[in-house]
Symmetry: none
Subunit: 206 residues, 2 copies
DNA sequence: GCCGGGAATTAACACTCCATTCACATTCGG
DNA sequence: CCGAATGTGAATGGAGTGTTAATTCCCGGC
């Protein structure tokens, strides 16, 4: 059973009904108790405000976001890559149902991230190499996770600060170096080179 | 400009029109000459047959697949995870346009520049010849990249200093020579001549 | 063909800047 | 208040870069 959180400025009963008709369970986005699989936001009224709210939610718990828009609002989403999917008004229940299932399906897989013999268990925040657990601090874990999820390209210190430490973070670039160093040392001698430094550019994983 | 390949059993003119209205370029899926960004398949008629065809295409070149379905066909796609997106009949041009852009946007990952067997991976700052990595320093990479991106014409030392080293850079012209030399030596004996010196003018690549 | 002079190549060196590392300060939870 | 985690500043070492100068190459003139 899929649980969908709804957010709308206007009358929410329409959304609840739409969700329920798809066979999913509807909860308010303000319900802190319940865990949900997807957030459905209604951009038909107050789109800007709603988008901001959705972005916050997405950054908070990383759940997929699906938006309802009117056909004339398509440009709104052009540059909002973090919105995972959308449906156009009027909402077709069967279409919505299918999109719910596709989003929920994608979600379920990503329990764990791997690179060679390194495995990150995203649910338990544990990391193992060759099955042996290595203990990472929070920031080390976050950095490593970002590296693994976006491996194979260079990231500047500034980009890493933004993506891993947060958009509003304003700290020295040395911070990244030091954390990279700690990570390398915990990865062990041979695996330290998994993180390559690209001189005068940044770091690359894999 | 996004290029979309269409596939339908029935009359294809409807698809062509739909694609063209979104501002994209339409080609037949049977056109072997042209490269396309997305494949649009019409499942409204002969869905089983079309799905099979689409799967073949997807496995062949790995491009994103978007399907057109009727609302009653949603169950068709429940288990077809490799179909990247879909729109329901009747097709809304603006919605289709947005979905095209979102799919094409995801695609653009591996930016790369080539010349013969030389390949620059712009994302990872790595260079390979015949698939073997060669390690270049930052300036060597930047210079080579400029050469490849603007191959086939002569550049004076002054121009290169300005374009590669930066507008405000003020250094001796010999600097370029030396970097060209280092590049040539790293390219290897046979490929050293890819950079031609044009006496009393400058250098040309390719 | 042989010079001569300008231009490019090459080698060697000096220096700059960047990554690393260490040591310490600060924050946070218990 | 303690210890762990995280951030910052400063010292160090080294790779990368630029410059100088010696050498070689090219090309026209005689």
């Amino acid at each position: 059973m899929i649980t969908v959180a709804y957010s709308s400025i206007g009358d929410p009963t329409g959304l609840v009904e739409a969700i329920t008709l798809t066979g999913a369970h509807a909860v308010s986005i303000e319900d802190e108790e319940t865990e949900w699989d997807i957030a459905l936001i209604d951009l038909r009224t107050e789109p800007i405000q709603q988008l901001r709210e959705a972005k916050r939610v997405n950054e908070d718990n990383g759940c997929p976001i699906i938006a309802i828009i009117t056909s004339s609002q398509t440009t709104l989403l052009e540059s909002e890559g973090w919105v995972d999917d959308f449906v156009a008004d009027p909402v077709d229940t069967l279409e919505l149902r299918l999109r719910f299932h596709r989003l929920a399906g994608q979600q379920a897989e990503v329990e764990t991230q791997r690179y060679k013999t390194l495995e990150l268990n995203l649910a338990t925040y544990q990391a193992t190499i060759d099955g042996r657990p290595i203990d990472l601090t929070f920031m080390e874990y976050e950095l490593l996770r970002y590296f693994i999820e976006h491996q194979g390209r260079v990231w500047s210190r500034e980009q890493l600060l933004q993506k891993v430490w947060g958009y509003d973070y304003f700290g020295g670039a040395r911070t990244v170096d030091v954390h990279v160093r700690r990570l390398r040392s915990k990865l062990g001698e041979e695996r330290a080179s998994w993180i390559t430094t690209v001189r005068s550019v940044g770091y690359r994983f894999g």
